[in-house]
Symmetry: none
Subunit: 238 residues, 2 copies
DNA sequence: GTCGATGATCAACGACTTCTCAACATTTCA
DNA sequence: TGAAATGTTGAGAAGTCGTTGATCATCGAC
């Protein structure tokens, strides 16, 4: 898409900055790294960036503040959406990220593997490019795999069109948009049903997954895409 | 790593303070020395230090208290791990266990030779530098070795994907996040099982370590990553 | 070497999770 | 309004996982 892909890494831990920098440079990115929120904001204002990797738990001007300010600025000035991947230190923070829906494009919980970060970065950039690419080219379902188009709300599996009910589609779309993430049922309830797990029964999710599998998996008993993560929930193998 | 290597010596015995100070100054360290726990905490808060040498048997605010507070603060604020070498007057097994459990990086019993202390200091600092240097901490190295990803809850050993049960994964993730630390079984119970050791049997940890080893170690009888620390617990060799 | 303490290994059982299906509730649309 | 499609809930079966205690191996002290 662009000649230079430039990423900003914001983390106050030397080790994380170094490792993330390596991972991105190995992937052909130009990397800027800063260790605090103020420098991060300055860099974002002053530089042309393709992507920001942002630690949530910065001291001082925190990751959440940056995210909030950035998104507020963008919508006020009608600027282009700058893709952001959030890093969070604890698994419990994940729930907050999802709950608050702060506009991160993806998020990773430490510890994470560099390869995983690189994969998510590519995926975020691809989506961002498709979006910027305007009136997305008429969808052509190609070859193998599962293709989901939110605009026409249609789904193809290995090139064949599949009919899904509304909730089934929403669930699948969410999973496909968050590939390789172990999603807990409560997360899916919140995201797809806009509901609290206190309010709604989590077995609703189980049942919809069951129906989805019968429709999209070749061997529903032995699912290839929609995998169970025992004691947690489900994961889409993108 | 740093231009100046600065060490804080905490001991209420004049003779020990003097001897240790000499030993470190001869080794090119800048030395701060205090004779009580309160001053120690103040110095730790106010100064940039490379290492603390801490007498366990201080009167007043004791060595164990300092260790506990310091490590609690670090984990709460996500600060860098400050290396600590503990000095103890007695060779009692109990103190040794408690000292290592609370996150002392090494341990010396009085009387000791200044040369021995200097050697251990160098070793502790080297390990600490390696750790901060990126190849460990929340991040696991690429390629060979064990990679853990909390987001997708998946694990790779030498590039091959490994299936783990829920508790096995949680245990592994905790260990990987605290590399090169002797973790007591009670600590692991508290961290991974959110449980009291009075309530749950510590052999649960032993068993889970056993299962983990059979899944991730090439030679489980002779573990390379998940090592036993006799009379204490287990340690992850990051 | 012997003894005691500690860890490894194994088997067994109970508890928990998910799958599956059926029944009921709700929405949609003719 | 009524029928069909869709969504939600609950219950039982099947399977996996977690935990424990027993027994054997190993280590270190004496």
């Amino acid at each position: 898409m662009q000649g230079v892909r430039r990423v900003l890494v914001v983390d106050d831990d030397d080790g994380v900055r170094t490792a993330v920098t390596w991972a991105f440079e190995a992937d052909g990115f130009e990397v800027l790294a800063v260790d605090n929120g103020l420098s991060a904001m300055e860099t974002i204002d002053g530089e042309v960036l393709s992507l920001v990797v942002l630690d949530l738990s910065l001291s001082g001007l925190g990751g959440l503040d940056i995210l909030r300010r950035l998104r507020a600025n963008e919508s006020r000035n009608g600027q282009r959406h700058l893709p952001i991947i959030v890093l969070s230190g604890r698994d419990s923070e994940t729930d907050r990220i999802i709950g608050l829906d702060l506009g991160a494009d993806d998020y990773l919980v430490k510890p994470f593997s560099p390869g995983e970060l690189a994969a998510r970065a590519r995926s975020v950039l691809r989506r961002s490019a498709e979006q910027a690419g305007g009136a997305s080219a008429p969808f052509t379902p190609v070859g193998n795999g599962v293709e989901v188009d939110r605009t026409s709300r249609s789904v193809w599996v290995d090139g064949r069109s599949i009919e899904l009910a509304a909730k089934e589609f929403d669930l699948l779309a969410y999973l496909v948009e968050h590939p390789r993430r172990a999603c807990r049922r409560s997360e899916l309830l919140a995201a797809v049903w806009s509901s609290d797990s206190d309010w709604q029964n989590e077995s609703t999710v189980t049942e919809h997954v069951y129906r989805l599998r019968t429709k999209i998996e070749t061997d529903p008993q032995n699912p290839k895409w929609l995998r169970t993560v025992r004691a947690v929930g489900y994961r889409w193998e993108g």
